[in-house]
């Protein structure tokens, strides 16, 4: 019996196991333990949460391996970490550290303004951000085994997450109503691989799991993204920039399970203290938006 590692099925499969769950940004082993205790299905290890990256400015890079190692040792759930767009050496390092999923992320400062990482070349799976179907399929073509809609990280404003999720879902519905002979031109317009466009039409959904990210700050936000078709949610600054992180984290986990049940949502949304302060995306100058990074 031959055992084969790093296959497409095991890469995509881990994301399938995360569905219906919440992946939380953490910057210390203590945060990671709070996230695990609250019921996170995975944690994202990074040096600063996106709202602090936004505030501090400068170049945002892969986190210190020592910090990542500390988080890996602190929890038994999967640990993800971010590499800069196109920075395949950061990805090599994260794979060597034993990270379970790499996020090639627009939240960090891009290392390459033309090319993303060739993700097929790795055994470890990758998740990438998208704003629309074409961007999602380009990333999957490069080997991403999981997608997240980008939203606008570090704002606590859900508006961009909604825009991106609706864009992906609308384009999928449009493809389903299209005759096969028009898909060639559509693939060209979407700048996406034809075989993936054909697959999406046939199956009526993305070929990999799609989480929502970038702006989730409350249980209601998480449930909204699930109602719009997300398979699960990433929460960044929304937890550890709130008044009561353990309580908010647990409530968002419950909301992601019971997203169709308003009575449960009402109960778990009660008494959580102040949510993260938040920044309206409409008030941000264009050059401060992270979602535009990625090609």
């Amino acid at each position: 019996m031959t055992q084969t590692t790093g296959t497409w099925a095991v890469k995509v499969g881990l994301a399938q196991m995360l569905k219906g769950g919440v992946i939380m940004d953490v910057v210390t082993p203590e945060h990671a333990k709070i996230a695990e205790e609250a019921g996170a299905c995975a944690v994202m290890a990074l040096e600063r949460v996106p709202s602090d990256i936004r505030k501090d400015g400068g170049v945002a890079r892969m986190s210190d391996p020592e910090m990542i190692q500390g988080i890996i040792e602190a929890v038994t759930i999967p640990v993800m970490a971010k590499a800069r767009i196109g920075h395949f050496v950061e990805a090599d390092i994260l794979q060597a550290l034993g990270i379970d999923y790499i996020d090639e992320s627009e939240v960090l400062t891009p290392a390459d303004e033309t090319h993303h990482i060739d993700k097929h070349a790795f055994k470890v799976p990758f998740v990438c951000g998208c704003r629309n179907l074409g961007e999602a399929l380009r990333r999957i073509g490069e080997g991403a085994a999981m997608i997240r809609t980008k939203g606008e990280a570090g704002t606590g404003d859900i508006v961009e997450a909604v825009r991106h999720m609706r864009a992906v879902q609308d384009e999928i519905r449009r493809l389903q109503n299209m005759p096969d002979d028009e898909l060639y031109t559509v693939a060209k317009e979407l700048q996406a691989p034809l075989h993936l466009v054909q697959q999406v039409k046939k199956e009526g959904r993305l070929p990999v799991v799609n989480f929502a990210a970038g702006g989730v700050a409350t249980p209601a936000d998480a449930a909204l993204m699930m109602r719009l078709g997300a398979d699960g949610v990433f929460v960044g600054s929304g937890i550890f920039k709130s008044e009561n992180p353990p309580l908010v984290a647990k409530a968002i986990v419950e909301a992601t399970t019971h997203y169709q049940d308003p009575e449960v949502l009402a109960r778990i949304s009660t008494g959580l203290g102040k949510a993260m302060p938040g920044l309206s995306v409409a008030s941000l100058p264009k050059e401060q938006l992270m979602a535009g990074r990625g090609w």
């Binding site: 099925a9 569905k19 019921g39």
Partner: protein, 202 residues
């Protein structure tokens, strides 16, 4: 015969199980509240993150209703995280699961995600040759105690599937490979109740 099968839908890959069962012509219900267990013929506890599902089982009052369901003799199947939750003994899980099946399980037994793998595997009692088994941060079954028995092992003897009367625990993911033989097999394992069926709390 068409059956009504529940898939515990607290977290994990419940949709994949639902789709396999629907392709076999069964009625499928996603279970998010204990009261929904009442009129099912069988139940699947899917793959997912076992620590997350264990918490949601407790916070949603599922622990005793799930124990009662297992004791009622109806087929109950745990895949990966689900197998961890069925086991009487688990190392490295910080919450009790359902703790009903006489097996001891070791979580994340094969290492981290880069060590996740696929292999062809023979399952005792399953006709038509080996299944393609996908192991994702998978648990292994360290020990089976009677009346539980091993029904599949890797070449090195590691137990990756076990059965105890109406209970089935499997380390890998038959719901991911498009081969529905294990789902069909599962729906045949129901036995008469081991003890009188307990009224499920609402």
């Amino acid at each position: 015969m068409k059956k009504r099968v529940g898939v515990l839908a607290l977290q994990g890959d419940f949709r994949e199980h639902r789709e396999v069962l629907e392709s076999l012509g069964h009625e499928v219900r996603e279970i998010r509240k204990p009261a929904q267990l009442e009129d099912l013929d069988a139940l699947i506890i899917p793959g997912g993150e076992s620590t997350t599902i264990a918490r949601l089982i407790i916070s949603n009052g599922f622990q005793q209703p799930l124990r009662d369901f297992c004791a009622s003799g109806r087929p109950t199947w745990g895949t990966c995280a689900g197998a961890i939750l069925l086991a009487k003994e688990v190392d490295n899980l910080d919450r009790p699961g359902i703790e009903t099946m006489h097996i001891a399980v070791h979580r994340n037994a094969f290492g981290r995600q880069v060590d996740s793998f696929e292999a062809d595997l023979n399952v005792r009692g399953l006709e038509g040759g080996p299944v393609r088994a996908v192991f994702i941060r998978a648990p292994l079954i360290q020990r089976v105690d009677p009346p539980a028995e091993a029904i599949a092992t890797l070449d090195d003897g590691t137990i990756v599937a076990a059965r105890e009367e109406n209970l089935l625990a499997i380390s890998f993911h038959p719901e991911l490979t498009g081969d529905s033989r294990l789902h069909e097999f599962f729906l045949t394992i129901g036995t008469p109740a081991r003890e009188p069926a307990v009224e499920v709390a609402g």
